[in-house]
């Protein structure tokens, strides 16, 4: 992967009607990487994308493209292309003309247009669809046309604004793979926006977790999952139990009334911290062998494993295990040192990570979010 930055945002602020949407946001995007802006509705991810596309100028701060200041350059002069949330295809034109749109604007010779369009259509597996009207295509096919239309212009950066949100699950999975392949084939930078953490983890080289117009963490999917920076990130990416703890000294933390060995250091002595333990990293053991003990309050069978909620001194833990348990059982929990991750206290401490009010549906409620702004 190349090291140079193709796009840079420097202390960018944007507000709409007095409301801060982006707050002193700085981000460096490397050439040829697949980077994902991840966050819930209203976190500012789409605004960030529109800033790079040129549909929006920052109130303050700079947008740089290949090291040059880009503020005020209109969208039509930027070497970036966008795949829009609802595709925004031209229904008055057929598939061929949609893909050819940008090329015709550039006044490319007809023969070259023909060649490029057919290349693009074969890249997205739509050979033979040239003459079809947009309205006769399925959602997945429209998506492919939108991709072909954007990449036909050979952009240096492709912006993707929740492009898969309107597709059903199976198609989504296929398109995720396909987009990844297209990105590798073309060797261009993809800036992908999504609220779906799984999508972000599987597709990206790097993930940018955003909330309240600020970047919470930037890192590889593994970093983000294993080393979340604060309770927001830990909660947003996957399931996590987040409990209050005290760092007694390097490599020793105390929480839930027990002292644990861990792999974290460089905290003050007796510093209050947030402790993250992922549900799949907890072993259920007999009570007498457990580091912590509690009562099972709910058991869900999910096929691969059981998802059980254990009440430990009033705090509800989520644990994923293949051992069958029953509601009312007393169980012991065993946690390896490398399963414990320590985070500094943040504004998000105490907001997440307790499964008292947990319900399965909550995860699926926010599936298709409204466009921001």
């Amino acid at each position: 992967m190349a090291k140079e930055n193709i796009v840079e945002l420097k202390n960018v602020c944007v507000s709409f009607d007095g409301e801060k949407v982006l707050d002193e946001l700085s981000l460096e995007i490397r050439d040829k990487e697949f980077i994902t802006l991840l966050g819930a509705s209203g976190c500012g991810k789409t605004t960030t994308l529109r800033l790079i596309a040129g549909f929006l100028d920052p109130d303050s701060g700079d947008v740089l493209f290949e090291g040059k200041k880009f503020n005020g350059v209109p969208a039509y002069k930027r070497q970036v292309n966008t795949i829009f949330q609802r595709y925004a295809l031209f229904e008055h034109l057929n598939v061929f003309e949609n893909v050819a749109f940008g090329l015709r604007v550039k006044k490319m010779p007809e023969a070259e247009i023909k060649k490029t369009v057919s290349e693009m259509l074969s890249l997205v597996n739509l050979e033979g669809f040239e003459k079809r009207r947009i309205t006769t295509l399925s959602g997945g096919q429209q998506q492919r046309v939108a991709i072909a239309r954007a990449i036909a212009n050979k952009p240096k950066v492709l912006l993707l604004d929740e492009p898969l949100a309107a597709l059903d699950l199976k198609l989504r999975k296929d398109m995720q793979k396909e987009l990844r392949n297209i990105q590798r084939t073309l060797g261009i930078t993809f800036i992908f926006v999504t609220h779906d953490q799984e999508e972000a983890l599987t597709m990206s080289d790097r993930v940018v977790v955003m909330d309240k117009g600020k970047i919470q963490q930037v890192g590889t999917p593994k970093d983000i999952y294993n080393e979340p920076k604060n309770a927001f990130v830990a909660d947003f990416i996957g399931e996590s139990n987040i409990v209050d703890g005290v760092m007694l000294k390097d490599f020793v933390v105390k929480f839930s009334g027990h002292t644990f060995d861990c792999l974290d250091k460089d905290f003050d002595e007796n510093e209050a911290v947030d402790v993250v333990v992922r549900p799949e990293d907890v072993d259920i053991v007999p009570v007498d062998k457990g580091m912590l003990t509690g009562t099972v309050t709910s058991v869900d069978f999910l096929g691969v494993h059981y998802e059980i909620i254990v009440d430990i001194g009033g705090f509800k833990w989520m644990i994923q295990t293949t051992d069958e348990c029953f509601v009312g059982d007393n169980v012991g929990l065993y946690i390896e040192p490398d399963a414990i991750h320590i985070m500094k206290k943040s504004e998000y401490s105490g907001l997440y990570g307790d499964y008292s009010s947990y319900s399965e549906e909550m995860d699926h409620l926010s599936e298709i979010e409204e466009e921001e702004e």
Binding site: Y76, R86, F90, L93, F101, R149, A150, N153
Partner: protein, 275 residues
């Protein structure tokens, strides 16, 4: 068509009765008169005489075309700029555009006489600043002006309503693909607003081609349109009903042909938005 319930038929009944009495019956009467002579016997002689009116037909079509083109040239940019305004301003401008429509069009036409007349407002003003008065009234220009003035809202409204519904993300997509403002207008806005244009053209051309009042008041007796011929013949007595009906029938067939041609232009799937 799916089966309609008894209820929905009942709701439609008043209009159907209305249409039968005031649309279907007059049309049948018109057709009857057009193909009979004064004694009621079948004849084609009325149709054979149509040739005498070909100049009036020609002038009507010419004026109506000119009025339609001028109206379109005024209305399209107007509608375009309306869509660019703030929503509250759009409503305001809309009301201003529609305001004249709430006044009787005879009165509106009449008031143009006092503006254009040889002793009217414009010429009084020209004389007062020492310029030579212009001959404005009773010219083809005055007739076309009257048509444009009376029918311009019927062009602006359909274009505006179609244009304002164009998805903003399409314009962003076009900009994203390298289109500047002019190219977005040419490649996206104009093609997508065609149904509104077609509908506007129809709504201006049809009343223009068949008008008689505007041409009489603003055109004097030199700019004799086909509508004037029909009006004159019907007024001249029952013995002219047959020829007047024949002209009306031909005019109607012509208009229907225009509509058919126009609806082919608008998007095939939606069948156009001809009102």
């Amino acid at each position: 068509m799916n089966k309609k319930s008894f209820g929905s038929r009942l709701v439609a009944a008043p209009y159907l009765v209305w249409a039968a009495i005031f649309v279907i019956v007059p049309l049948l009467m018109m057709a009857y008169f057009a193909f009979t002579d004064n004694s009621g016997a079948f004849t084609l002689s009325n149709m054979a005489q149509i040739g005498k009116y070909k100049k009036a037909f020609g002038v009507s079509i010419l004026y109506a075309l000119a009025a339609t083109i001028v109206t379109l040239l005024i209305s399209y940019p107007m509608a375009y700029f309306m869509t660019k305004m703030k929503v509250s301003s759009q409503r305001m401008v809309m009301i201003i555009v529609m305001l004249p429509m709430w006044m009787n069009f005879l009165i509106r036409t009449y008031s143009w006489i006092s503006i254009l007349a040889n002793t009217g407002i414009i010429n009084t003003f020209l004389k007062s600043i020492g310029l030579r008065p212009l001959h404005l009234i009773n010219t083809p220009g005055a007739v076309i002006l009257g048509m444009v003035y009376d029918f311009v809202p019927y062009m602006i409204l359909p274009i505006y309503s179609v244009m304002s519904k164009i998805d903003k993300s399409l314009l962003e997509a076009a900009e994203d693909l390298g289109s500047n403002a002019f190219s977005r207008l040419r490649r996206v806005i104009i093609p997508l607003s065609m149904p509104g244009v077609i509908s506007g053209i129809t709504m201006v051309f049809v009343p223009s081609v068949s008008t008689f009042y505007i041409s009489q008041k603003l055109g004097g007796n030199k700019n004799w349109l086909i509508g004037d011929a029909i009006e004159y013949l019907f007024g001249a007595g029952p013995e002219y009903y047959n020829i007047a009906s024949a002209i009306s029938l031909i005019l109607m067939v012509m208009i229907l042909l225009c509509l058919a041609v126009m609806s082919r232009f608008s998007s095939d799937e939606e069948g156009g938005v001809i009102i």
